[in-house]
Subunit: 184 residues, 2 copies
DNA sequence: AGTCAGACTAAGCAAGCGCTTAGTTACCGA
DNA sequence: TCGGTAACTAAGCGCTTGCTTAGTCTGACT
């Protein structure tokens, strides 16, 4: 799965051959099929476990914050760091899921909807208690997630910025975007 | 080229066959090779012309605004609208360029750097004249472009929001992000 | 009427693809 | 010592891929 994540993130699902994955894992071409029934099944396993760990991370970020401002900062900081540190898995999660079969795709789409809800809900709570000012919590949640998700597109290990720096930057930008700069 | 843009945007460069492109254009499989020497050359032509028109759009957005705040709002609104209205070309531009040959890739990367500079420069001018407040213009420019670029990822023609609405939303979010909400 | 360039196709080639088959090896409990 | 199970490979099958070749057709110009 690690070899597959590496290859899928680097070249994309369709440009990756099962022979790439096999040799990356130190196996013969047939060796992959001992563990996975098809290349798509491998993508699905990667995508599902990636989505599940991302969702777990988001929920943990909410649980560990006393106020909506702390929770939003946690979400942006930790999720951004995850996109950097696990950037190969993150790329597969964010950009390869539409190559899944319709059934498998539906399963990860359900997880993605929950991820959206986590961000939208924290905005709604912040608006409700007066700490946040936003025009539309759906639009704002999408923009915040765009900033984080896009990390998986532009990040490369050759970049000098550390995960912590990127996380801190994105957390600060988020608080500014919801009009809560003076807190958190 | 239209048929190729459609197919590349829908399935990605490697998942698209030359036969898909040919039949999309109403040609036999060999008909494509009358006009283009290879599938990669077709991607390059699409990617280059897409990058050029995006860069032209960005420069026009700057030219048509009297102040940095107007210019930034123009950039965000028009570039977001472009990502919606030309979302197939936009997807190819934003997500397929790394499948180009090294030489062709270098050529579009130069255009992409210029696009980044346009956004970063308007932020610097806004900071210089006191209308914008940002911690780091590079980080902020990247976040603003993330919001726009990500449109090409999540947009689908089935979505009810109009290009103008999405453009207006992103322009408003940008002004808020640089601390210039009261203007524009 | 004759010529010729350019757009196009039918047929197909060599290579690479996802995946299978038949068989080998290593290891574990009885 | 043995039978069984799971991990693995060498070889290769059938198909699809990007692209080529040889030839046809159309229309503009002389």
């Amino acid at each position: 799965m690690q070899a597959a994540a590496h290859a899928f993130a680097d070249k994309g699902f369709h440009a990756t051959t099962t022979r790439d994955i096999a040799s990356g894992a130190g196996l013969s071409p047939a060796g992959v099929y001992v563990h996975f029934g098809s290349k798509e099944e491998l993508l699905f396993n990667l995508s599902r476990s990636g989505h599940e760990s991302a969702l777990r991370l988001l929920r943990g970020a909410i649980a560990d914050g006393p106020t909506p401002a702390h929770q939003l900062a946690n979400v942006m900081r930790r999720f951004s760091e995850w996109h950097v540190e696990q950037y190969q898995v993150a790329r597969v999660v964010q950009y390869e899921h539409h190559h899944l079969t319709p059934e498998h795709h539906a399963e990860v789409l359900a997880l993605r909807k929950e991820m959206d809800s986590v961000v939208r809900d924290v905005l709604d709570r912040g608006v409700a208690d007066g700490t946040f000012t936003v025009d539309d919590s759906g639009d704002t949640a999408l923009a915040l997630l765009s900033i984080v998700v896009d990390v998986a597109r532009w990040y490369s290990p050759t970049i000098r910025r550390t995960p912590a720096e990127i996380g801190a930057t994105n957390a600060a930008l988020a608080l500014r975007l919801v009009g809560a700069t003076h807190r958190a």
